[in-house]
């Protein structure tokens, strides 16, 4: 008996050690790009051009000053714009996709199945497919150089909807909705006051995904935004990368990339604790 317990403990310890080794290796892989990025942000352009180095260079401040003092590179407004667009996209995408998922989940209506199938179908359509038409249309609607085409479309995010739907399927029994009705709660307020809190972990997860996706998006904004004051960070990075030979400076590019990543990491770390806590709370209740 004791032997058996010992051997099972040994087995457990072994499994634990393997887990740690694998985890440490993966953590190394994950942090390595950040490390290289930070190292390169401290190096001067000729230094970077000469090849790779694990040792930081001495140009951190120079690069920082160059990036922040470049009058054609509105970094601060770029951060604010990116934050605004990505933040609004995250909020709108999660709220309205949640609402849509709830509509399909909680109500019985004739077109329900058709609607669900339709969304599943359009979920597969690559964004790039309709880009040409999209940009044309925005021009006709006089929405060029405007944040609307970058924010509002996230209200209809099929992928977020799909996640919400799957989440509701596994966490929201219809009895709760029924109970709310008996308590005299209106349908819309049931969604806001009861369903949204239950979906918090899902909302947090999808909010991050949407936020990051929008934060890093270059393709569509580069076709929509024109004026300097409205540019987002990826556009500014691309602008640095297509600088003329006099100004071309990989040190600055890496510095701006590092600056661009910092706020996302911050938002992520804030939200990630929220998610993990939310998920754990949910499981305890369950």
């Amino acid at each position: 008996m004791k032997e058996k317990r010992d051997s099972s403990r040994l087995l457990l310890n072994m499994r634990r050690s393997i887990s740690y080794i694998v985890l440490v290796f993966l953590v190394f892989l994950c942090l390595f790009p950040f490390f290289v990025l930070l190292v390169n942000a401290t190096r001067s352009h000729p230094d970077i051009q000469k090849g790779f180095s694990f040792i930081p260079g001495g140009s951190f401040l120079t690069n920082m000053v160059h990036v922040l003092n470049n009058e054609n590179l509105p970094v601060l407004s770029g951060i604010v714009n990116s934050l605004f667009i990505a933040g609004m996209s995250g909020i709108l995408a999660t709220y309205f996709s949640g609402l849509t998922a709830y509509a399909i989940h909680a109500y019985e209506f004739r077109l329900k199945r058709a609607v669900y199938l339709f969304i599943m179908l359009i979920m597969m359509v690559p964004v790039q497919v309709s880009t040409l038409g999209f940009v044309d249309l925005m021009g006709k609607m006089k929405l060029m150089d405007n944040f609307i085409p970058l924010i509002i479309p996230s209200i209809a995010s099929p992928v977020v909807f799909f996640f919400m739907k799957q989440y509701l399927d596994s966490t929201l029994p219809l009895d709760i909705v029924e109970a709310a009705r008996i308590d005299g709660s209106g349908e819309f307020s049931t969604f806001n006051k009861i369903v949204v809190p239950i979906m918090k972990p899902a909302i947090a997860v999808q909010a991050i995904f949407t936020f990051v996706g929008s934060w890093n998006n270059y393709f569509v904004p580069s076709l929509i935004i024109k004026s300097n004051s409205k540019k987002t960070l990826p556009i500014l990075i691309a602008q640095l990368r297509s600088a003329d030979f006099l100004k071309f400076d990989m040190g600055q590019v890496y510095m701006l990339v590092a600056i661009a990543i910092f706020p996302v990491v911050l938002v992520y770390i804030c939200l990630s604790k929220f998610i993990i806590r939310g998920v754990t709370a949910g499981s305890v209740k369950g």
């Binding site: 054609n72 933040g87 909020i91 556009i235 297509s242 938002v267 804030c270």
Partner: protein, 478 residues
């Protein structure tokens, strides 16, 4: 839990405040533009009739209030600011607006095309007034109705343009022989070689004697073999010599709608394959870190094809052991500073350059003319630009003056390279350009990289080139 809630709240308020910041600003903006639009619209009718028969001077009063310049980086902006705006030449009441779109993923041309196509319906102060182009796709805009004739429409005279290098004018001359753009810089290219390696291989580092040894491609190949025997590489990458071949094609890339592969281009293919197989090159690509490293103290490469701007900035930067930003000085002793020299090389070519066009429909013609005149035709300003920035400017008189002075470049071991540039620039012949050059040159080099790498055969590489070319330009055929 409450702490976390606080964080979320904070982010929320941050977003909200930026939202309200935006929304409170937005109405103001639109009302402003609306006002200026109506104002401009009123003056437009008179301006349009005026400019045609009365001269540019009188029309000046009726100019639009905003000059919009489309470009992809800040190079022109700094020239404009330093030599036009700071010189006090900007009329009062007009503001200049640079619309910078990066060239990544063709974004610049997409934005410019869209703006030009909407030019007619755009509000007066939103119209494109000037736009910048590069040589490789210049004809796309020059051969269209969207660029104005710099003489007939803008009002520059033959006298104004006489001092510009011919090739810079050819590049922006449309199929009817009308010049539709102008530039402040000329970018003739030379062959930059390492003095120490030349001494070892050829027994001399004298530019004239080296030039003699490299005077044509067969001599060049011979030196490559000798250099290889001593453990050097003649060139760094596959595409180093490409421009010298593509600038000297016997006919344009496209005849009617048919893609024509010039013999000179195939000569590049054969030469590069030979160099690769025999180890005369280092298999790098332009701008790759390996390529830059080959130009530094550890490099074993005989030389590089570089034009005006590349030598004093890129090459110089790459040659230093300790970069300037880390306390290094630009002087002999730091890396291989002083070990480079220039000669003409086997063929004349150019590399780079930016041209300015006036957009059809501009409401600021007099100002556009003034800018073109000052920055691209005025010898005093242009000489000043060269002296301040070492940019080689597009003015023969001013450049010849420098060429015949006792100007010395310490970086090139005391050589007066301006003299060589001044000799090379008039020899460049760019009459064979086409509006497809950008896409076709790019596709060709990429397709043949696989051939040099030994992954595909020559025929397969050609096939891949055609595929990519026709994807880019559906009207073309094999």
């Amino acid at each position: 839990m409450q702490k976390k809630l606080l964080v979320v709240l904070l982010i929320g308020t941050m977003l909200l405040s930026s939202l309200t910041g935006c929304s409170s600003k937005a109405p103001k903006d639109t009302s402003e533009t609306n006002a200026s639009v109506t104002k401009a619209a009123k003056t437009e009718d008179t301006a349009a009739t005026d400019t045609e028969d009365t001269g540019a001077e009188e029309a000046g009063a009726a100019q639009g209030k905003v000059l919009n310049i489309y470009c992809w980086n800040e190079e022109f902006k700094s020239r404009y600011t330093d030599y036009f705006e700071k010189a006090g030449k900007l009329p009062e009441g007009i503001s200049v607006n640079f619309i910078i779109t990066p060239s990544d993923n063709n974004a610049y041309q997409n934005a410019l095309d869209q703006a030009l196509l909407n030019q007619k319906s755009a509000a007066t102060d939103d119209k494109v007034d000037m736009f910048l182009i590069e040589a490789d796709y210049a004809l796309k805009y020059v051969d269209s109705e969207y660029a104005l004739d710099v003489k007939g429409d803008v009002g520059l005279t033959d006298g104004d343009l006489a001092d510009q290098y011919q090739y810079t004018r050819d590049i922006v001359t449309d199929s009817n022989g009308i010049q539709k753009g102008t530039t402040w810089q000329a970018t003739p290219g030379l062959f930059v070689y390492r003095r120490s390696i030349a001494k070892d291989v050829l027994g001399t580092d004298d530019p004239d004697k080296v030039q003699e040894a490299l005077n044509d491609w067969s001599k060049f190949d011979q030196v490559a073999a000798e250099a290889a025997a001593k453990g050097y590489k003649m060139l760094s990458g596959y595409d180093d010599a490409y421009r010298t071949f593509s600038n000297n094609m016997s006919a344009p890339w496209v005849d009617g709608n048919k893609i024509v592969i010039d013999d000179n281009i195939m000569k590049w293919v054969d030469q590069t394959k030979l160099y690769t197989d025999k180890g005369y090159n280092n298999k790098t690509s332009l701008w790759a870190p390996e390529w830059a490293a080959d130009q530094g103290p550890e490099g074993k490469v005989f030389g590089f094809f570089y034009s005006t701007w590349g030598i004093n900035f890129t090459l110089l930067g790459n040659s230093l052991e300790t970069p300037v930003s880390e306390g290094g000085k630009e002087e002999v002793g730091n890396g291989i500073y002083g070990d480079y020299a220039v000669c003409r090389g086997p063929e004349s070519y150019y590399w780079g350059g930016t041209w300015i066009c006036a957009a059809a429909g501009t409401d600021n013609l007099p100002l556009v003319k003034d800018i073109m005149l000052t920055l691209t035709c005025d010898p005093v300003t242009m000489k000043q630009i060269t002296e301040d920035t070492q940019d080689y400017t597009n003015n023969m008189t001013a450049m010849n003056e420098l060429a015949n002075s006792d100007f010395q470049s310490a970086f090139l071991g005391g050589q007066n390279h301006i003299k060589l540039f001044a000799e090379a620039a008039p020899k460049i012949d760019m009459s064979n350009i086409s509006s497809y050059d950008q896409g076709l040159n790019e596709s060709f080099q990429r397709a043949f990289k696989d051939y040099f790498d030994g992954i595909v055969t020559k025929e397969e590489a050609l096939e891949n080139f055609y595929k990519s070319a026709i994807e880019k330009y559906p009207e073309l055929t094999k």
